[in-house]
């Protein structure tokens, strides 16, 4: 395969068989395949959310008269309207908007780190990786706050038909609607949060390696690109979760 080696392809991107299927390195292609399988997992979660959601009735009246009930599916913007430090103020979707912004921003710093890696600029890679890690932690903290608020519920709670009161949500009862709504909230945002967490761990790992000059010695920053793909995927999933869980 002498002809393959004389091409402009960098040596570390050639597979062991001497060729380069789909013109990418082995690790990057496998990352794409992994992300594809992860897409199926998240799709399965969101599709089952859609199925269960449409198996429940929607609130029939006008939106301004909306009340929480375990009979019909809640309107998400009535559920997620709290913001830290603004107790008692109804600010629908504002906090989720902030979380979305944090994640998009950290995706931008990640792609800047990848770009710095192409230029083999160690200082820039370190700088942008640190920002990305910070964004990841900011997102996880926001999510922890939102879970906390969702679990504790509002002061008024919900009075059931038999007179019992329900405060907040867990896997068996839910003041905002059918228990299935809370179950899906915990599973979908939880599964996404777990991905963000593993992403932060990977980011810390590659930041540590960059700082120690591992990639400089190796001669390329491909690892940044592969972990970057994963990080963007986490952002991508959030875009869908944001739409299908919070907006629609």
């Amino acid at each position: 395969m002498a002809s393959a080696n004389t091409s402009t392809t960098a040596e570390h991107l050639i597979w062991k068989g001497g060729v380069q299927p789909m013109k990418v390195g082995y690790g990057k292609l496998m990352m794409w395949i992994f992300l594809l399988s992860d897409t199926f997992t998240f799709s399965a979660l969101l599709i089952s959310y859609g199925l269960v959601r449409y198996s429940f009735p929607t609130f029939e009246g006008l939106r301004k008269n909306f009340e929480f009930s375990t009979t019909w599916w809640p309107i998400p913007e009535r559920v997620f309207e709290a913001v830290p430090f603004l107790h008692g103020i109804s600010a629908p979707l504002v906090f989720v908007g902030i979380m979305t912004f944090i994640l998009i921003m950290s995706s931008v710093t990640m792609v800047l780190a990848v770009e710095a890696g192409h230029r083999r600029d160690k200082a820039d890679v370190e700088k942008y990786m640190l920002w990305t890690i910070l964004g990841g932690f900011a997102f996880l903290s926001s999510q922890a706050w939102e879970w906390g608020h969702f679990i504790h519920g509002t002061e008024e709670g919900l009075t059931l038909a038999n007179g019992a009161k329900v405060f907040g949500a867990n896997l068996v009862q839910n003041q905002y609607g059918p228990p299935a709504f809370a179950d899906f909230f915990f599973f979908i945002t939880g599964f996404h949060g777990t991905h963000v967490f593993s992403g932060v761990v990977l980011n810390i790992l590659i930041f540590y390696n960059t700082a120690n000059g591992v990639y400089e010695k190796r001669g390329h920053y491909d690892m940044i690109e592969k972990v970057g793909l994963y990080w963007h995927f986490v952002d991508l999933v959030w875009v869908f979760v944001f739409t299908f869980f919070y907006l629609v």
Binding site: A10, M22, I47, R120, H220
Partner: protein, 110 residues
């Protein structure tokens, strides 16, 4: 890889497209909020849902094509990733319709 280590001078950063994509994503998200708060959901519920889904796909396109560089990969890789996802769309439609039927059944038998 020896030829790389001799090259110590800094190359100029090429971040123009990255920031352009960032502003597009931010703009779309802001637009989604604007629609969420200004369009009357009682009257135009499905219009809103439709707009949100279209904007989500536009956002996904920019993240995948620019941030994940899929747009600059070879066609074979693009289709390897996109084609299975198209089948997922079918599953979404099928199971949401199915969910409606489950709801009707539940209404009848409760």
């Amino acid at each position: 890889m020896a030829q790389h280590s001799e090259n110590t001078e800094k190359l100029p950063a090429q971040t123009k497209e990255i920031w352009r994509t960032f502003w597009i994503l931010l703009g779309i998200t802001a637009l989604e909020f604007l629609i969420a708060f200004t369009i009357d959901a009682d009257q135009y519920k499905w219009t809103k849902v439709g707009i949100f889904i279209i904007l989500t796909i536009v956002k996904a396109y920019f993240i995948v094509a620019i941030f994940m560089h899929l747009g600059s990969e070879v066609k074979a890789l693009i289709w390897t990733v996109i084609l299975p996802c198209i089948f997922v769309v079918w599953l979404i439609v099928a199971l949401i319709v199915e969910g409606g039927y489950i709801g009707v059944e539940r209404l009848f038998f409760n």
